[in-house]
């Protein structure tokens, strides 16, 4: 019998510091920063779905980062966040970088949901796990308002035995800021009589009064194979500043990976983004005029890549 193929969802993120010396367009690499996303020798093909780009700055080291999706806001006139991408060793797809916003085709969404290009199949007895960490309330003017959060998560699936929809879901009680909680796993268990193809995952109860998940709920999902899909607060949220690495302040990490908050650059199989397992996806980001601002210490961009790794159970 042919081995069964499964597609493991993955998320990779890199936070890049942008140099303020603008030589990106004139040939020098100093303003450009490179993010590279390789899978190692896991699985067979790697299907890239999309990547999100966020652009931010930090006024003072230790302060919360300010995120902006405009790719030109808050930076001097005529300066843009420029980008190009491609496969390592094969060159970028274009020679001259263009504005990051020109690649972005999807804007902000109301709710966090990730629809899969390929289903992820779980088998009877297997359990999904998700952990949520409460985050700070929204700052409304000078007053910080903590909204009650009773978040939950749902995996949207189809039973393979009869093609009927099957939802795996779980919610928590109210969570205080900084407190972490594992969602009850009873609702996340695959039924005993049929595998379930998961076609998407969504989180709910996480938006603020403005219906935005501004600072990003801190989610962690662990599959039945003990593999962590993604966790918001990871080492990559440490970026290099001047004298050394500085962690973006706790509680302010932009965690949007179930849905890209600002800009989503679609890849997908229809455009040929089925990557060999030994290939590496690279993104280059830079600016074309000096990034100077009286109150700004440094600037950075965050790239979040999502996709699926093909594996077989043979």
């Amino acid at each position: 019998m042919a081995p069964e193929t499964n597609w493991l969802p993955f998320v990779l993120r890199e936070t890049l510091r942008l140099d303020t010396d603008p030589t990106f367009l004139t040939g020098g690499p100093t303003a450009a920063q490179l993010g590279s996303f390789g899978m190692g020798k896991v699985g067979d093909n790697v299907l890239l779905q999309d990547f999100g780009v966020e652009f931010g700055y930090m006024s003072y080291v230790g302060d919360p980062p300010e995120w902006t999706g405009s790719f030109s806001e808050n930076i001097p006139e005529e300066s843009d966040l420029l980008m190009r991408y491609g496969y390592k060793h094969r060159g970028y797809l274009i020679d001259v970088p263009v504005t990051a916003g020109a690649f972005a085709t999807k804007g902000k969404v109301f709710t966090e949901a990730w629809n899969f290009l390929r289903p992820y199949r779980i088998y009877p007895g297997e359990v999904m796990r998700a952990r949520f960490r409460g985050y700070r309330g929204e700052v409304d003017g000078k007053k910080t308002v903590i909204f009650p959060r009773k978040p939950g998560m749902m995996f949207n699936g189809v039973r393979t035995k009869d093609k009927q929809p099957h939802l795996l879901y779980s919610t928590t009680n109210e969570i205080d800021e900084g407190e972490a909680m594992v969602l009850n796993q009873a609702g996340f268990t695959c039924p005993g009589d049929s595998p379930v193809d998961i076609w998407g995952v969504s989180a709910f109860g996480t938006a603020d009064a403005e219906r935005e998940f501004v600072n990003g709920p801190d989610w962690q999902i662990i599959g039945p194979d003990e593999r962590e899909w993604f966790r918001s607060r990871i080492d990559n949220d440490v970026i290099n500043v001047g004298g050394g690495p500085v962690e973006i302040q706790d509680g302010t990490v932009n965690a949007n990976w179930l849905a890209h908050r600002w800009a989503s650059v679609e890849l997908g199989e229809g455009k040929g983004w089925m990557m060999g397992r030994d290939e590496t996806f690279v993104v280059e980001l830079g600016v074309n005029t000096p990034l100077t601002n009286d109150n700004t210490q440094f600037w950075f961009a965050m790239v979040t890549l999502r996709g699926f790794m093909e594996v077989n159970h043979g």
């Binding site: 367009l25 902006t68 999706g69 405009s70 790719f71 030109s72 806001e73 006139e77 005529e78 843009d80 190009r84 491609g86 797809l93 274009i94 020679d95 001259v96 970088p97 263009v98 504005t99 916003g101 020109a102 690649f103 972005a104 085709t105 999807k106 804007g107 902000k108 969404v109 109301f110 709710t111 219906r211 935005e212 600002w262 800009a263 679609e266 890849l267 199989e269 229809g270 455009k271 040929g272 983004w273 089925m274 074309n288």
Partner: protein, 293 residues
């Protein structure tokens, strides 16, 4: 029988409609002057918001220009598309992407080709952009996403892009650098979508998609857009939510019933009535695929 080959074709006109008046659009841009059938897809409409009534107009801004004009269309040798004039807001639905929020982020306006458009080896996309933002601006960008077939039959991602890095004065146009807009490889590039980006510096608002105008054509073969005119990005790619569009005032499009084909020498006759007490400028664009065989 040779396979059918499809070429996108946009045709555009700008019209100023006096207050509470009806204007018959010039039938020439909206006629099929080619020998091939023109498989119509949509008629897009956009315009800068006008103050519809005195005083507060916040609510009346909803729907943008589509709420302030009504249309009546017909095709020669065929008859009316609608027998009574219909307000554009009823004829042209809002965006079918309900779960997105308006934002000030400036994204590209994407046009998704119905089927991949082929750019043969050594062919080049020639793109001209006009700055219509009202102020000097630079950074206008154009991106094509697509793929090429490798020898083993798998797809390899391809991208074409151009950026106008220098500054353009208001209403000035120029041609984009074409170094990245050429198919210099072996084999065809199959272009899946086209993205137009005016690259504004916020807080510039681009609700109506009128900050840049474009003329994009392949260097050889059948042209996509007329030579004499540049078309606003909102008309070229109306199915995008643009920045600051929190009142659904963006471009609209009437989608023709499937199978609406304009034969050669046929034309679309369009009347637009201004429902407001002010003169309005509206931008209208007809899009379809030429069935070249």
């Amino acid at each position: 029988m040779a396979d059918k080959h499809f070429v996108p074709r946009w045709r555009y006109q700008r019209v100023e409609i006096p207050a509470e008046d009806t204007v018959r659009l010039d039938p020439v841009p909206f006629s099929n002057m080619e020998v091939w059938p023109w498989d119509l897809r949509f008629l897009s409409l956009t315009g800068e918001p006008v103050v519809a009534t005195e005083g507060t107009t916040y609510l009346s801004d909803f729907g943008g220009v589509a709420g302030r004009v009504e249309l009546k269309m017909g095709m020669s040798q065929w008859g009316s598309l609608n027998y009574v004039p219909i307000e554009a807001v009823a004829m042209m639905p809002p965006l079918r992407r309900p779960l997105t929020l308006p934002s000030w982020a400036v994204y590209g306006s994407r046009f998704q080709f119905e089927r991949p458009i082929i750019l043969p080896p050594d062919d080049t996309i020639v793109a001209e952009v006009q700055n219509t933002s009202g102020d000097a601006a630079g950074g206008f960008s154009l991106v094509f996403n697509g793929y090429r077939y490798r020898e083993d039959g798998t797809k390899q991602p391809e991208q074409l892009a151009g950026r106008y890095d220098a500054e353009l004065g208001d209403n000035v146009s120029d041609t984009l650098d074409s170094s990245d807009l050429s198919n210099d490889g072996e084999g065809d590039i199959h272009m899946v979508d086209m993205i137009l980006d005016p690259t504004l510096t916020p807080p510039a608002m681009n609700t109506a998609g009128l900050k840049s105008a474009w003329k994009v054509n392949p260097n050889t073969g059948i042209q996509w857009m007329d030579q004499g005119v540049l078309i606003p990005e909102g008309n070229l790619a109306p199915f995008n939510r643009l920045n600051y569009d929190d009142m659904d005032a963006g471009p609209r499009a009437f989608e023709f019933p499937k199978g609406t084909v304009m034969r050669r020498r046929q034309r679309l006759e369009t009347f637009i009535r201004n429902l407001t007490e002010q003169d309005q400028v509206v931008h209208v664009c007809l899009f379809g695929y030429l069935e070249v065989s």
